[in-house]
Symmetry: D2
Subunit: 338 residues, 4 copies
């Protein structure tokens, strides 16, 4: 961390401040010139609160040089993390992990039908929300426990990995019994109590990026889970909020190579929420594969227009089949299986 | 709601779609011209999911005309909501409700000293975080239960209303025993499980706006609490995320008159988080009062530079005293007490 | 356009307002219910100023149903626009139009060397800035006229199409003499005086999207050029400003299929400005091709670290060669040449 | 500037890089630890291009410590700049400079009537657009030269200072003959050719902040004008683009105290564009005065509903009169005249 002191700071104040930092176990290097008083703080500054430093009235500015995240960082763990679920490997150079399925779990039969279809088309994961974070209290809130149980039933019958959103820590036992991959939704990315609780499980966590969070904040949320003891984190970009209104969100495509550089974690893309429009899902999916993602999570429904939620961004069976064929070709060009 | 159908839609498809809507209990009015097929949907469209409408392949666009929130709306409840806490009235034309205190509860003595000071300066509320949502898992996470108890002790001894952040529903009993006003932080504004649980209490809820949420989303979160049975909602604007880096957030000052127009709820401003810099707190506080807010929540600490958190935006006693004097004068000009 | 009137509007006021609109040549359709007064305005509303409608005190809200752009719209001109420059066709199903070259024109020799290299690698265009919009008045502002002339010289000697940014209309004659494709930079996207002047030329215009402009605003700027008489517009997405600081901008990848749907114009991607980091250029370029773009504009320099500007996002010869090989493969998968 | 080199950088590469910087006239201070190689660059780094530094492959990151602006900085020029126009002083502790008038100049009679009214109400400036930057090429583009001449006529007859937007440098002679204060609109804030041309005049320049520009970019644009020779710059905040759709823009109120701290220039607020809604103009105006602005620029029209442009945010005579009375009271509380 580099700290710039105010021009008018007195020598004694500088001395006291340096002592304060040294008492916290840091080594201080003076990088001042005649114009600026600059101090370099050496040591594990990930534990040093920049807000605390800025609160000193003699401090003009403070810049963090080292990243605040540690265990998610590629420099801490150079090899790719590969998350294994029921024998399927996600991340590394393993085949793409494609997840299809409805926004919300509706009936058990429909879920099973969809699971069979997406599996036959090449997907290895089945998505379906049982607890739904809806903007309006008057909108359909999901089937709850029964939806979670349907997912388990279908998973066993069809042989497919399930992904579903968990919204509060009291549902962890229910999820541990029924669900393979626990999704943390965008709105809960900084629900730290939930992250800490999930960090105490061994379940693979699909951590969605908050719709206005920076990459650093996202990685700090992953750090919460890992620091609590659970290394099985899969990152998921689902589009960020921008001024654009033609699309529901804006997919940050450059996140893919960037995450690969900064961290060792797998990264999956959600083209359905990223665009909000089914016409755009295919193009954005192919783009994500070309950019090097480790998988996709796509909303698929036999009849999107009667889906309980998110129909506008849900593709039907034919579209999913076509998408999977093209995805396989693009993946092959970049040396990746599906 | 106005629905525009695609040009190529066939008469039978239009008929079927109209029947679908009528079956949901809506009346349909045709507003088409030779260029556009437009349908007006009449009835309580707050229960109609716009995503569901958009999922029909024949739908080009859909615009909500009526607001999706109901119980928070001024048209539903024309008179100002006044939240009463231990005899103090917040909102309406009542005196401004000013809250001061540290970011985090540190020691009981320090909290008491600060409480006495802010009360003597004219504040009626004491803030202090016991559970802290920190970006880093390695940063100070708050004193927890003991901090909550300190707040209660100080409240009783000094005679001041306490405000503290609640981050998960399992802490509700602890808060009901110890805290006067429960704060929902910006990161949890869309933690719907928490909102629903708080809606089942009778506690006054200070609902902060998420740092990238629209006013409509914020009001929908208030709607969650009220629809669950708790009408005691106080809105709190604490700055939104923008590109600007000189400030931590950007205060949306126009929210004040806008909230007064759209809703009947009290609105309080947090100039500390809105700016992130103590030098800017006074100017922004005075501006908020001039714009018509119902109160302020300000971070105050006797020695900001040794505060456990948020020191950079925390003002000291002298600054708070000066601010309160100026605030009183501005409030008087607009016909409001402090 | 759908206009919602305030609840308390009197019948006579509604009548007067309808007459006002009818006098402007519109037909009015009443879509009111007992709760809402809604009027549908029928006719060419692209000429109706929404701000003017909103200025009536009886108007609650107004929603534009038809798009405000006309000549850029695919519904106005269903076939793809193909811009032809010196025999090279851009857009439609023609091979990708790849442009390489330095951020700024430096020396004529260096420019020629780079032109030869990018052409050999498969690019058909050469970029190079002679007038540079720099944030700081103290930064290198470009070679000006001499730079423009170097581009012409190199174009003739090497046989390559040149692209360079024009910042004011008084340089049009100079550009007409020397440059093949005139670039309008992001900062000038809404410099309407410049757009109108360019609309009076016949030159192909590469219109960059402003860094915080919506797609609609971008298309309205294209509409300015076309409405002034010049149909040769090529759109260029170069990333939008978001909160993210790891990248210079955020590429809006979904713009590619969206532009194809909304308009008939070619769309080119600038991965260099979109990311600001050379490590990310390749992944984002491949993604753009997979999503269906019509070309790329990439900053290439033999020694990025001594480039006069934008070195951080400039790739060197080896990287460009590798990128072109991979680009060719991805393009082939989606049935496109390079 | 602090430069962090990559871990794997070799000693010889560091040596060469230091020599490169020393050759540019900078002194280098080593602030490295065992984990990080950090170099402090000492000298006038406002002339050092950060992009150039980042282009070296051995550079991991570079942070500017000193501000990139110089002549606009308060540390360069500690006293407030006071811009004087026809005997009226703007900035410093001088009375607030309030500007009223229509969005667009319409007829000479109407302009004169409005000028008389706003002057009687206490305003010292008259606004009116003759050249209008409209999103649509089909919208009213302003009266042009004749509008500029009307402003001059009215200014002379009524005795009021005129403010009007200039959109291209070829209109400078026309403006120098007719207009007192030249406004640079938000869309042209980074039209550097225009800024440089205005820097060669002696006219007071009202420089609006671009709707998505940072404060630093805004100040760099002011630096362009001053560095070209014209110190008469007045900054104008008019709201920034955010996700919020209830308002046209979001006023950044904290800009007021921040600008006062960072620079010596006067700052004026435009509550009309900042909100886009006439109901919000008064509250936001009073807030701006309480926060310490040097003036306001407000859209006023006798009949907003028939104004040629921006009617929705234009207030009528009665509202302006009321606003001026309240403004005077708030200004008095903070020790300022109107």
């Amino acid at each position: 961390m580099i700290i710039q002191l105010k021009k008018e700071t007195k020598p004694q104040e500088i001395k006291d401040f340096i002592k304060y930092l040294e008492n916290k176990g840091y080594q201080i290097k003076d990088a001042s010139s005649q114009d600026l008083t600059l101090l370099g703080v050496i040591g594990d500054t990930s534990k040093l609160d920049i807000g605390n430093i800025l609160s000193f009235s003699i401090v003009e500015e403070a810049h963090r040089i080292a990243t605040p995240f540690k265990q998610v960082s590629r420099s801490f763990h150079p090899l790719d993390t590969v998350v294994e679920v029921k024998g399927i490997k996600i991340g590394g150079n393993n085949p793409l992990f494609i997840i299809g399925g409805p926004c919300s779990v509706e009936t058990c039969d429909l879920l099973k039908e969809t699971a069979i279809f997406v599996k036959e088309s090449g997907a290895k994961g089945l998505r379906g929300g049982a607890y739904k974070p809806r903007t309006s209290p008057y909108a359909f809130q999901g089937l709850g426990t029964i939806g979670v149980e349907y997912l388990n039933t279908v998973s066993n019958e069809v042989g497919i990995i399930t992904v579903s959103e968990i919204m509060s820590s009291d549902k962890i036992p229910e999820f541990e019994k029924n669900i393979d991959i626990f999704q943390v939704g965008a709105r809960n990315m900084q629900n730290y109590e939930l992250l800490k609780a999930l960090g105490k499980t061994k379940a693979p966590i699909l951590l969605k990026r908050g719709f206005s969070n920076t990459i650093e904040e996202w990685l700090m949320s992953a750090e919460y889970i890992i620091a609590s003891g659970n290394p099985n984190v899969i990152l998921c970009e689902r589009g960020i909020r921008t001024f654009e209104t033609y699309t529901r969100n804006t997919l940050d495509i450059s996140v893919i190579p960037l995450i690969k550089k900064l961290t060792h974690l797998p990264i999956i893309i959600d083209p359905s929420h990223a665009t909000g429009k089914r016409d755009l899902v295919e193009a954005v999916s192919l783009a994500s594969i070309a950019a090097g993602c480790d998988g996709l999570i796509i909303e698929v429904h036999p009849h999107p227009e009667v889906a309980y939620s998110d129909g506008a961004q849900t593709i039907n069976y034919d579209s999913f089949k076509t998408l999977m064929k093209k995805a396989t070709k693009i993946a092959k060009v970049i040396g990746r299986g599906v």
